[in-house]
Amino acid sequence: MTTTHDAPPAYEPLPEDADLWTAKIRRKLVRALPPDRMVPDRQPAYLSSWIYIFGALTMSALAVVIITGTLLALEGPAWWHLSTVGLFVNSLHLWSVELFFFFMVIHLWGKFFMAAWRGNRTLTWMTGVITFMASIGAGLTGYLSQTNFESQWIATQAKDGINAIGAGAFFNVLNFGQMLMWHIMILPLAVVALTVLHILLVRTKGIVPPFEIASPEGGAHADATAETAGGEG
């Protein structure tokens, strides 16, 4: 038996288990998402600005949106018209959505002006943009699911734009049942999955460093692995 000092990391399988699918998946996952990158306790010194808080604020608002939306779902889409408790939960849902978008837009513009796609972080930027678009869809279908005048108005107005590009044939904003399903199932799933992917990319690629004062001598730079390794340690 080997000593503890010489033992391989816990995620490495025993040699005789190395071909097991489970062992391979675990090893790949841990190597792709190492715990010290997923939950780091140190960050580069440049990470010092109020703008960084807006990513966490957006995530927090999304959590409140999901919690309050789940509470609304417990009693159904018309509950809040008839109950003062329901109306308050609806208010919580509305204001968490407003804050979610407010924080997300500031986060987006902050990342734009930091050119946060630099250093092989293009996919991080793109997943953020898609999450923003999916969130707009979730917001729209939420307004369509209110079962009140606002839903009626938005449905009858939005149909023209969506029909004009041919999408109205399969995405019928006048169909309450379809919009409710999109709002409480399809789009939340998409937003949450995209957010998780976005966060994993942020954690694996690290936080983008500031612009250099001047480009390095010689003009050439290392390969993609080396350039992204500088994100955080």
């Binding site: 939950v39 780091p40 306790d41 580069p44 010194a45 440049y46 990470l47 703008i51 959590a63 309050t68 109306l87 308050f88 609806n90 919580l92 509305l94 204001w95 407003e98 804050l99 978008f101 837009v105 734009f112 002006f113 050119a115 630099r118 250093g119 943009v129 898609i130 678009m133 917001g139 729209l140 079962t147 005048f149 606002e150 009626q152 108005w153 449905a155 029909n163 004009a164 041919g166 109205g168 044939a169 019928n172 006048l174 169909n175 309450f176 409710l180 460093p209 500031p210 612009f211 250099e212 004062i213 390095p216 003009g219 050439a220 730079h221 390969d223 993609a224 080396a226 994100g231 955080e232």
Partner: protein
Amino acid sequence: MSKNRRFNPDRDVNPWKGAYRPYDIAKEVTVCFIVVALLVIVLSALFGSPDVKSVTLKSWSNADRVDFATTAIAELDGTSGTATYGAPYNNVAGSGQKVGPVSLVNLMGVHIPVNPSADFVINPLTTVTGQPALSKALATFKAASPAQQAKWEKAYEDAVAKAKVVNNTLVVPAGPYGPVGVLIGELTSMATSGALDTSIINSSGFYSTDYTKSLLFVADSGYLANKGAAEHLSGDQWGMMNGTANYPGQPWLWLYTLWYQVPPFSTSWSANADALVWAFMMVLTALLFFVPLIPGLRSIPRWSRIYRLIWRDYYKGRV
């Protein structure tokens, strides 16, 4: 990726060689969540949320019988907004917005069939029993030639323009409109009693979660348009991004809504404004999505120097 690719400051970074410092992400996320949750509770307690009641065919017809009858005859004679809409609801020659020569809505075709004269007028009236006058009027109308039907419909349109409401009853001046007076009169009675809501919503069965037909009918009215304008929700009032009762609504749609307010979308392109605004927004969205790959566009952050404000601690003391 080439290892000798030239360094591009808008695409590449050098490995960070500087200092690291403790950073408690778990604490940050927890504090953020608590702060946001408290903020949401305070905003909800202070402002609540708006809930303007929905418009039903019953509430609309009771509030404005003349508007209802005017809309109903337009549905019957095929001149209403829905009847002349085209795809995806019905086939109408010359309908369908275009982007250049392409009409995407027409390419997709009719997927949600709606026949306003049948779905909104004739079929609901056919469900009424025990009213010989209505049955006779329906039979007369159905047996008449299209030309005769059109004459009656036109005569009723002219008459209903001078209609009044007396003692909660629609009073239309006499005219050569044959059975159409009875049809629209009975439809108005159905609507004011609430029976028309049920008839249209339940036309495909007991359970329904699809309000397409009812919404299209209501949307053809002047009543809904006036109510929307009163809530500052019309297209020329920045439309959907506003909420009812002066609540914030969907302010993140401001850019989409903006194009409807400005030329040429609001003027020479207005006939195809929806298609063109959507197409334009798709181009803008694609640009946002591909910013990291578009030379020039991806340099804006460096040129703007706003990053110096964001990372002002880092740049302090640096040239």
